[in-house]
Symmetry: C2
Subunit: 223 residues, 2 copies
């Protein structure tokens, strides 16, 4: 019984899943998604691959744990008693900001299904939909719509971050894309041609929220 406690204190610099996950997050945040390799991890933790694999199943497991670590904070950060519709907006923005700060979270959410993190999303949003009085039959569909929309944006943001790369100018990159779009045949691509102008100035965060509001407006028509 008493062995438990001592085991965790075997060494001051003892390795643990917690410590490994934190190191991984640091690498992911500061050097980007592609910089997280087991080599980099072993170097930062001053150990070998074997030690890490003792605590972690594989790289997927590690990324899942890191993602949960970030998401957990987001969903619980909305004050109790908030009006449901506003709570959903708050959670959505929290999620967006988290992904903005940790783009790799977006890639992970968008690419790996049925993780614990997504369960948390479903519960956070679905719970408010219930409180909002959405008919039972439509709750699943509505929650799915909101979550999948968020996942779509998450994936795009992660991909953008990967593309623009650390240090590069985001506006310059968007201008480049807009230029390409403008050069398309206006007869064949009238819509793209038109929004190309809005592309550079537009705010991803605002647009994300506008999408959430659009879906919520649709949910409102169900009542």
């Amino acid at each position: 019984m008493a062995t438990r406690k001592q085991r965790t204190e075997r060494r001051a610099d003892a390795l643990s899943k917690e410590r490994i996950v934190e190191a991984a997050i640091e690498i992911l945040d500061t050097e980007g998604e592609r910089a997280l390799t087991f080599r980099a991890l072993t170097q930062r933790l001053a150990t070998g691959p074997g030690a890490i694999y003792w605590h972690v199943e594989n790289k997927g497991d590690l990324l899942a744990a890191a993602t949960s670590h970030v998401i957990a904070h987001v969903m619980t950060d909305v004050p109790a008693g908030t009006e449901p519709r506003e709570a959903i907006r708050t959670m959505a923005l929290g999620l967006f900001d988290a992904i903005d700060a940790h783009p790799w979270v977006g890639a992970q959410l968008a690419g790996e299904p049925w993780q614990f993190a997504m369960l948390q999303l479903f519960e956070g949003i679905g719970g408010r939909l219930m409180a909002l009085g959405v008919p039972g039959s439509a709750q699943f569909d509505a929650a799915s719509a909101l979550v999948n929309y968020a996942l779509g944006v998450a994936g795009q943001n992660a991909a953008n971050a990967r593309l623009v790369a650390p240090g590069r100018d985001r506006t310059a990159f968007l201008s480049g894309v807009a230029d390409q779009w403008v050069q398309l045949d206006p007869a064949e691509y009238p819509f793209v041609h038109q929004i190309a102008k809005q592309l550079v100035g537009h705010d991803d965060r605002d647009q994300f929220l506008a999408g959430v509001d659009l879906i919520l407006a649709g949910v409102g028509t169900l009542g």
Copy 2:
């Protein structure tokens, strides 16, 4: 000038980006995303990596080309003159079915931004929104919502396909997930607990369309 035509006929089995892309799609469809390696490609095309790299920038380029190849058919398959709202639903379902048939397309769309395929999506959907009389300022947001929602679903479907793997039983897999969800604390996860029952029987395609309708309903409130 005359060399053009002859160059393409240099050999009966001449390599070309077209042929490489088709071989890649065959591998992706029959053996799954992970089976597409340059080794597998060289074997199927009876050549070496160098030959492939002469026609293709890298693996990303190859996947992008394969994705465009699939998406192009989807977006142009809706008959002209269709009522805009219905056209959007048709395109969305076409996209869903395409991703259902080629899950790797979902992964590609969800994970790589600003590709030609996505431009086609934007144009197809955005064009109909214009025809629908959506106010100009909201067109971009609405199109973005629909596209990102579709991308979210695409990513999840791709991930599911990767997880369930070829040959395995999808229902059994979903039951497993549902079981896990049911075992959660109902007090902490009331919503997830409730929809777990619906999880096994639910139809992804129907739910996807329900989400599209939800967003379209929201768009309808803008008028």
